[in-house]
């Protein structure tokens, strides 16, 4: 190489160095709590699909950090003076991922498909006389009678969320999975890169028009600040944590509580509790069979249990749990201790006295014990111990969660493959009021597994749905709670909180009852 050529090469390299590297694409690599196998958030209530929905789709309304329902795709809405007509107009510039404009027709079709599947949607549609298109951007909902449900249902934060889809997609039979994943959300699902069991990929939607307001909970401006979100499926918790520590992934959605110390010990990792309301542990009765067909025997369980034992047994660290003697999550508008004072104190003598009064004949409680989910595993053994101290006989059957899910749908007697009780956990956002709370549905055969059957509870739930005044709604919710201690459908066992584990270079994670990916930056 002669001198002139050498100088030219050095100059070229120097120039490149001055220009600097091209702007790199930022990819947020996340290990979610589960693999994405289904992509229709209306067809299934699975939380992983709900999170997929929030990336790919948008909603008409959203719940903000204070629990208020705010417009999201809707620009403005009007409620007639008689509170029977809601007229909603969409924001300017809303477009599907294929570039076509979002229309009122799309939204009407989406609401109909969602309402066919969702219990709150069904309740709302019971009040709807007409759901019709006014013009390309406006539609109206005309009611038979006033209800406070409309905005709450359309801004429902958790499964099933009323996500908006193009009309051609929304007209799919609600019991058939959609295959066209076109949405209008801040990210676009890359179906071509989706490998179930391995990864799901979302890229920033360059044409998304976020609201001007700052993000708050699920509401406000949804600004995508990373170019790409990759959900990596790592089913083994230890491997996922190792991947985070090694910097191969940026975020774990739900590391197990017993491994928090390992994460806290690493200088490059931080923990963030995203959901201020957390989750609620619940003991569910099957009222079809002895001994829990007798409400008085179910009341005895309220005396045998205490929440602290359950929370200590599973979560351990008091920083991540709190007792909450309320059916509705503490910190939410409907929370109240009414009728629960004096209960859940493990008063075994009182429990035994009630059992004697009820004529309990020693029929064993068939308690289903889920063994494969860390957040549920220790609940049933604690329940068994407390029930036995309270005078019950207990026959605990251990099984994996999927077996439990299948078995709980069976109405057969416990001796023929049925059950008496099991324990589970609810995301607080799913149980904010008596209509949302599935376990309070006491409509007999139409109720969720456990099939409680009580006219009083159903009457109060209907009254709640009709009421539009928040103070009166709260009063009704308290009445529901009183009734649910006389005719127990389930028992709340306290609140617990999880944490995201994140690399230190990940910031902007929002507090919300659902894992959100807008506003997150990666430096």
């Amino acid at each position: 190489m002669n001198l002139r050529r050498l100088v030219a090469v050095i100059a070229a390299v120097g120039a490149l160095a001055l220009v600097g590297p091209a702007q790199a694409e930022t990819t947020l690599r996340v290990v979610m709590h589960s693999d994405l196998k289904i992509v229709d958030p209306i067809w299934t209530t699975a939380y992983i699909v709900r999170s997929h929905g929030y990336l790919n789709y948008d909603t008409l309304f959203s719940m903000d950090a204070k629990g208020d329902i705010k417009p999201q795709m809707v620009d403005k809405y009007e409620v007639s003076k008689d509170q029977l007509t809601y007229t909603m107009t969409l924001r300017d510039g809303l477009a599907w991922h294929d570039g076509r404009p979002v229309t009122a027709e799309d939204c009407v079709a989406s609401i109909k498909r969602w309402a066919a599947k969702d219990s709150m949607g069904q309740k709302m549609m019971g009040f709807v006389k007409e759901l019709s298109v006014v013009n390309a951007k406006t539609f109206k909902i005309v009611l038979n009678e006033p209800t406070g449900l409309v905005l709450g249902a359309l801004g429902k934060p958790s499964s099933n969320v009323p996500f908006m889809m193009p009309r051609r997609v929304a007209e799919t039979d609600p019991n058939t999975q959609i295959s066209d994943t076109t949405g209008s959300g801040p990210f676009i699902f890359r179906k071509d890169e989706w490998k179930p069991g391995d990864k799901a990929v979302y890229v920033k939607n360059p044409n998304y028009k976020p609201r001007a307001e700052a993000p708050s909970g699920l509401a406000g401006g949804k600004v995508a600040k990373v170019d790409r979100v990759e959900w990596k499926h790592i089913p083994d918790h230890q491997t996922a944590i190792n991947a985070l520590l090694a910097g191969e992934v940026d975020m774990l959605e739900s590391p197990p509580h017993d491994l928090y110390p390992v994460l806290k010990a690493d200088a490059n990792v931080w923990l963030f509790s995203p959901n201020p309301l957390g989750n609620q542990y619940t003991f569910r009765f099957n009222v079809l069979h002895k001994p829990f067909d007798n409400p008085k025997i179910r009341q005895a369980v309220f005396h045998a249990f205490n929440q602290e034992d359950f929370l200590k047994g599973v979560i351990g660290d008091p920083a991540y749990y709190k007792t909450c003697k309320s059916f509705f999550p503490c910190g939410s508008p409907m929370a109240s201790t009414k009728a629960l004072e004096g209960l859940l104190d493990s008063n075994f003598e009182k429990s035994k006295a009630l059992l004697k009064e009820a004529g309990y004949d020693g029929t064993p409680v068939l308690l289903m014990h889920s063994t494969d989910l860390a957040v549920l595993n220790n609940l049933a053994p604690v329940a068994k111990s407390l029930l036995e101290k309270g005078g019950f006989k207990v026959d605990m059957h251990s099984m994996d969660w999927q077996t439990l899910v299948a078995r709980r749908a069976k109405k057969d007697p416990p001796t023929a493959g049925g059950w008496n009780a099991f324990l589970t956990s609810w995301v607080a956002a799913d149980i904010l009021n008596p209509v949302m709370m599935g376990f309070l549905n006491a409509s007999c055969d139409k109720a969720m597994f456990g099939w409680p059957c009580d006219r009083d509870i159903e009457g109060l739930r209907d009254a709640f749905a009709r009421e539009t005044n928040p103070a009166k709604q709260k009063h009704i919710a308290e009445q529901v709670q009183v009734r649910a201690t006389q005719y127990p459908t389930h028992i709340p066992l306290g609140q617990w909180y999880g944490a995201f584990a994140l690399r230190k270079n990940v910031e902007g994670v929002l507090e919300a009852p659902v894992t959100l990916f807008w506003n997150i930056t990666k430096k």
Binding site: Q177, K195, P196, A240, N242, A243
Partner: protein, 313 residues
Amino acid sequence: MLPYIGRRLLATLPVMTVVAVVVFLLLRLTTGDPAAIIAGDNATSQDVAAIRSKLGLDRPIVQQFGIWIGSVLRGDLGESFFFKKQVSELIAERVEPTLALATCTLLLAVTLAVPLGVLAAWRRGTWIDRAVMGLSVLGFSVPVFVIGYVLIYLVAIQLGWLPVQGYQRLADGFAGFIQRLILPSIALAIIYVALIARITRTSVLEVLNADHVRTARAKGLGDLTVLFRHVLRNAAVPIVTVIGLGVALLIGGVVVTESVFSIPGLGRLTVDAVLARDYPTVQAVILLFSVVYVLINLVVDLSYTFLDPRIRY
């Protein structure tokens, strides 16, 4: 030879039929309901029933079996309950990682185990023999997942030499491909090395005491010539047999290793499908594993004729 191969291939049909019936029945007898899993936690009994009907799970078992086996005979493995994809498509996506992992493991195991076994036999009773046999016992005794976690902690977390998890397709670059295969292959190969090394040692020891080896030595042939020309070839049949039989071990190991190292292969697909009660996928993958196992053992049987001229079919 060809008639023998034909007969062996025909003999796989009843084996496959038995596997198909057993797998189908076992899955139906297992507790759990795919419809309830698909519907999600907040679903009502009506939702679950609607999905069960959609999947055809409300039909009699005999009818379900008839529909499935008919499809399989037409080359259609069905559609996954969960992924809304053809099972054949799912398997095709997952074959490469599993094949790569199995091949690397086999290469690593054979490359290490055969020389170690020969060395142990050649130096019988010395510290080398005892060390090889001691390590073999250790290799047998420690579960694959423990080896996996220890390797991840030492090599990936502490030293940062290799990635913790994942898989990169060969088409996306050889360096990334091989980097991600080293740790899982080592973890999976250890038990295989232990097995092959022990069998190699025993087999070589047996041949070393044979008359023809004594004759070769008496003729004044060098140690290496005796070893390679007269010992190894005659000791090969049991070694090849154990490699073939070990494929079952490999299949089981692949399931665990792919989970620990988060490799999206057939092993992980099997675990995910079993946990989700995805009947069509489990049935197809197990049938595939059975076919592979039967065919590998056929290849092993055929290889005897090349290794030992006295064997003829």
